[in-house]
Subunit: 308 residues, 2 copies
C-alpha cells in the first residue's frame, strides 16, 4: 500500500437540481476525493483550508475514515469556500450561481511532514499554483502524480495550469475541457495533444457516457453504469478521481493494465455519488455495495468473442 | 446458419460533411445492412425498390456478396429514392436538404418465395406499413424480428409504427429517438417503456458514445471505438444493424449472451463505415481487418478485476 496525498477544495455547496435544492452542505474536491479513496483504507492525507465556520464533525467524517486532516488549515477568522450551482433538466449542464473564495483566496498549502514521501499525489481541483506548491513540497519524487482541473483555470490561469500539467503523470479532465485545452474536437486527437503537454496518461471523463483512458497508442473505455435517475452530479468527477487514485494507492501498481481497473473503480464509485445530494451517498457507502456494483460493471461490459 | 431477410431503402445519397461533398452515390438502409451482413457469408435476401436509373453494377455489389436481389423491384419508368443531407461540424447533427421518395411512394414489397421461411428478419428503415407487409408475408414465424426505424416515422406515422413495434423482438433506435418515442430522458426508463410496447430486446445507439442493449433488468454497454476522425456518419446505424443481424444469422443463437457479441460486431462494422464517404469503406472491407478491429474492441473494454 502507498501513501496518498490529496489536495483540493473543502467547501460548502448549495445545489439545486430538478429534484430539489439544498442549503449549504459539505462539498469540495478534496472531500469527495477523500471519501472515495477511503473505500480502499489507504493511508491518505488531505491538504486544504477551511474557515472558522466549518463544523468539526465534517472534518471528523474524513478522519474517521483514516484520512489525515492535519493538512487542512483552519483559518478561525475566515469563512469557508462556498459554491452554489443549479443544474439544468438534462443534468449535463449547470449554471454557477455563486463562488465565494473566502479563505481559498490566500491559501498556502502545507503538506504534513509524514506525507512528504507519499508515492501517490492526487492534485484535485484548485488554483494551479497551489497544486504546484504541493508538488514542490514533496521530499521524494512521487511514483505517480494525478491532476484534476477544470475549465475555470483554463480561462483565468492557463500558463500556470500548463506549468503544472507538464509535471504530472496522469490528467483527468472532462470532454469539453479536453476540447477547450487543445482546440481539437476529436477526443483521440485531443488526448494526443495533452500527451505532448506532459502527462503520459490522459483520462477523459464523459459523464453519463463513461471515461476514456489513453496511454500513447493504447486506449481503454469504461462506460458509465446506465442509471434510472441522476439525482445530483456534484462531485462525481472528484469521486471518480478519488476512486482512481485510491485504488492505485492500495494496489501499489501503476501500470496501464492496472489503471484500467482503477478507471472501473472510479466509475463505480461515481455511479453511487450521483444517487443522492452532495456527499450523502458516499458517506454511507458500504463495501459490499461497491462489490456488487463492480459485478454489475463486469456484466455490463464483458463479452466472450473468441479471437484466434 | 439461418436465412436472413433484409428490408429497407436502396437509394442515391448526396452527402456533404466538413471533409467534402459527393454527388449521387449508392446509399439506403438495405444497402448498408446487406453489405454489413455479407461479412458473415449468410444466406440473405434484400427486399426493396429502385428506379430505371439505378445502375446494375450497384445491384451486382450486393449479389456478388451473396445477397439475393430478386426481391429488389426495378420500376423501369420510375426514379430511385434520393436523399441529400449536410452534416454539421460536430458530425452528430445534420440537415436534410432533399428527400425525393420517387418509386418508394407506391412500393409494395414482395419477399422472394425461397425466403418466406427465413429465421431472421431485419426490418430496416422504411414506412412501418411496408415493414408490416413483409412480416405478413412470412410463411413460418421467424425466430427473431429486428426493427430499425427513425424519428421521421414517429412524426408522420406513429400509429403504424407502434403496430409494427408490437410485433418485433428487437428494436434498434438511437438515443434521441428513444427519448422522442417515450417522452423519457433517462435511457433506462425509456428502454423499459419500449419493452412495454413489445420488443423483448431494446438496442439504443448513441453514436460516438456506443450502444446499449437492454433485456428486462439486464443491460450491456458496447462503447464505440474512439476514432481520430469521423469522415461521414451516413449509414453507420444501418451498418450496425446489419452487423448485428448478420452475426446472429450466422451463429444461429439468439440468446442475450450472444446478442452482446452481436452488438460488438455491429459496433465494429460501424466503426469502419464512417471512415469514408458512403459505402466505400464497406465495399472494400476485408475479413482480416474486421478481425483486427475486434481485437481492438476487446483491448478497449476488457479488464480483469477478480471478484469473489
Amino acid at each position: 500500500m502507498s501513501k496518498l496525498v490529496i489536495v483540493g477544495t473543502v467547501a460548502f455547496d448549495a445545489i439545486e437540481t430538478p429534484f430539489g435544492k439544498t442549503d449549504k452542505i459539505l462539498g469540495g474536491a478534496a472531500t469527495y476525493i477523500g471519501l472515495a479513496a477511503s473505500q480502499f483504507n489507504v493511508d491518505a492525507a488531505a491538504v486544504s483550508v477551511v474557515g472558522g465556520d466549518f463544523p468539526q464533525e465534517y472534518l471528523n467524517l474524513l478522519s474517521d475514515r483514516h484520512v489525515d486532516v492535519s493538512g487542512i488549515e483552519v483559518v478561525k477568522e475566515g469563512k469557508t469556500f462556498f459554491w452554489s450551482g443549479k443544474y439544468h433538466n438534462d443534468m449535463n449542464t449547470r449554471d454557477t450561481l455563486a463562488t465565494e473564495l473566502n479563505v481559498l483566496a490566500d491559501f498556502k498549502p502545507v503538506v504534513p511532514e509524514a506525507y512528504r514521501n507519499a508515492k501517490i499525489v492526487m492534485l484535485g481541483n484548485l488554483h494551479p499554483l497551489v497544486q504546484l506548491s504541493v508538488l514542490e513540497q514533496m521530499e521524494t519524487k512521487p511514483e505517480l502524480v494525478i491532476l484534476d482541473t477544470m475549465n475555470f483555470w483554463m480561462d483565468c490561469a492557463l500558463d500556470d495550469l500548463l506549468t503544472v500539467i507538464k509535471k504530472v503523470d496522469v490528467i483527468t479532465i472532462n470532454d469539453e475541457e479536453a476540447r477547450q485545452l487543445t482546440g481539437e474536437y476529436s477526443l483521440v486527437v485531443a488526448a494526443r495533444k495533452i500527451h505532448d503537454m506532459g502527462p503520459k496518461y490522459v483520462v477523459i471523463k464523459k459523464g453519463e457516457h463513461g471515461a476514456l483512458l489513453f496511454h500513447n497508442a493504447k486506449v481503454f473505455y469504461a462506460p458509465a453504469l446506465p442509471l434510472e435517475e441522476v439525482f445530483d452530479p456534484t462531485g462525481a468527477g472528484d469521486t471518480f478521481a478519488g476512486g482512481f487514485a485510491g485504488f492505485l494507492a492500495k494496489s501499489d501498481d501503476v501500470s496501464f493494465e492496472n489503471m484500467k481497473n482503477a478507471v472501473i473503480y472510479g466509475s463505480t464509485l461515481a455511479s453511487f455519488c450521483v444517487e443522492k445530494f452532495g456527499t450523502e451517498r458516499m458517506v454511507n457507502l458500504k463495501s459490499n455495495e461497491v462489490h456488487k456494483r463492480l459485478q454489475q460493471f463486469k456484466n455490463l461490459t464483458q463479452f466472450d468473442i473468441e479471437l484466434t
